[in-house]
């Protein structure tokens, strides 16, 4: 009868749906979740991908670990998201591209931070920007006025430049770079609300490359990797190079940390150790200062 076939079809579809959604025998054991700073995101995702390629199962990483496949999920969201997620327990390892705030330290309680590299927050623009040819450095005050929105046109910054509108690019409030800029340079002054907020370092890079009138603050590693498409400006005479980050003369230097709550479990520790050893090559290749130097 026609009705019977239709009923069978319904039953089959239901079974298929259930089959699709059935739980695989995959426990949380052996699954690492890493999340946070978008500055660290490319480095850590590549390191994670390499780690998963090199050791297919955890018992190859260390003999006392079970034979479970190595699975690492890496996501962005900003440094503050990383800290909050470690607090909430939604990630095992947080990526934080700034120092922890006092409030965060007290909420976290016992925790471990691992320095995987250092980075400079560079004031940068496209190489085709009106001021790229003539301006080599900006003073701290100029930068503060710029990002507070008080300097609206290029002609106000340097007299000879055309009267074109300055487009400010920022990361959103949860980013490590924003916090560093705010704490070290801006202090009490707020970043202009007219600035375009971009969701990640990658988006910032893309926008800076495409828009010749834009100025923003971006990780110096990305500037050095941009093959000349971007130009960074010295801050108070100090250029955002890796040497200046190491010897401490560049003001907007920041640590790139991995954050773990309490004591890291064996899986997290293994991955962190990898990032601190073989993974440093990745950090270096992306333009940051490796931790060991």
């Amino acid at each position: 009868m026609i009705n019977m076939t239709r009923w069978l079809f319904i039953k089959a579809t239901a079974l298929a749906l259930l089959a699709i959604t059935s739980t695989h025998a995959l426990a949380e054991d052996g699954v690492l979740r890493v999340g946070g700073s978008t500055t660290l995101l490319p480095a850590i995702s590549t390191a994670a991908s390499d780690f998963m390629e090199k050791y297919k199962t955890w018992n190859k990483v260390a003999p006392n670990l079970p034979e479970k496949p190595v699975i690492i999920f890496v996501t962005g969201g900003g440094s503050s998201f990383g800290v909050k997620s470690v607090l909430n327990g939604t990630v095992n390892i947080g990526m934080v591209s700034r120092d922890l705030k006092d409030k965060e330290v007290s909420s976290l309680g016992q925790h471990q931070t691992y320095l995987v590299g250092k980075d400079a927050v560079a004031i940068a623009s496209s190489a085709k920007n009106p001021m790229a040819a003539t301006v080599k450095q900006l003073s701290g005050d100029e930068v503060v006025r710029l990002f507070a929105g008080e300097t609206a046109y290029y002609s106000e910054l340097v007299k000879k430049l055309p009267k074109r509108e300055i487009v400010l690019l920022t990361r959103d409030a949860g980013a490590g770079s924003t916090e560093v800029l705010q704490e070290v340079l801006m202090k009490g002054k707020q970043i202009s609300p007219k600035a375009l907020q971009l969701p990640s370092q990658g988006a910032l890079l893309q926008k800076l490359k495409n828009n010749t009138l834009a100025i923003g603050y971006i990780s110096s590693g990305l500037v050095s990797q941009s093959d000349g498409a971007l130009k960074s400006y010295a801050l108070d005479g100090v250029s955002p190079s890796n040497e200046n980050v190491l010897n401490g003369t560049y003001k907007l230097a920041r640590p790139l940390n991995l954050l773990v709550k309490d004591v890291p479990d064996a899986y997290a520790k293994a991955f962190v150790d990898y990032v601190l050893s073989d993974g440093q090559a990745v950090v270096d290749s992306l333009g940051y200062v490796p931790a060991k130097r």
Binding site: S45, F73, S200, G202
Partner: protein, 288 residues
Amino acid sequence: MSKPQSPPSLSVAYLGDRFATVLVWLTGLLALALPLAILGFLAVRGMHVMCWEFLLSGPSGVPLGSAGGIGPAILGTLYLVGMGLAVALPLGVGGGIYLSEFAPCAFWVRLLEFAAECLGAIPAVIYGLFGYALLVVFLAMNISLLAGGLTLGMMMFPIILIGSRAALAAVPSLERESALALGVSRSWVARRILLPRAWPGIAASAVLAAGHAAGSAAPVMFTASTVFTVTNPAMTTPVMTLPTHLYNLVSEAVSFDHAYGTALVLVVGILLVNALSMLLRRRLPEHY
């Protein structure tokens, strides 16, 4: 409707009529051209990335996503929508059966339907907000297929409820009443008469809801999605999804070629799903 005769003279009304008709024709043609233009644009820019490797393999290259494919994203979306349907279908069809068979009076039916339609108006981003706060953090489900699937299920429920209610109510009462008059139970009527007649309508609304959910990034962004994964989806792991993958490719400027490809896959997929829904709806009159 017979075509009206236009007045012979060059009166103002005649000119006005002509002018307005031209305007309206222009908007009509614009409406025809817009979707084709958008689709064509995506197809032209995205066609060259299409190949089996793109559809089946995972993202690779540096930065991640500029090479390889979107296989895990397609899989993730399918799993999420499947899970959402597994939640929303029983709830929706059950609710529809209640509303059309067992509701004690018209007042209750109207009230409940009203409530469902109001609640169905909630924007998708609110489901994401709620899903993150309650499911991911408070119930500690973490960002996972489970949390995302439940969120999508809640989003699909009103559509399926209203659709199945309409489909069930559209079955002529003659069939119901003659069966009941012969003494069979209501569950027999529901099973053997109503559902077989109404299933195209129910399936159409389910498919529509699925298409809508598949394309929504807002509910899954904070409840289920991750940037990169190599494993098969499981209940407790996050998944890549097509809409969030597209958003990542664009906002991180990883690869615009792949972005076009992803957009094309997403749009074509949803179009096929909508076409299926339309086909199903067309099958309804057969049974009368």
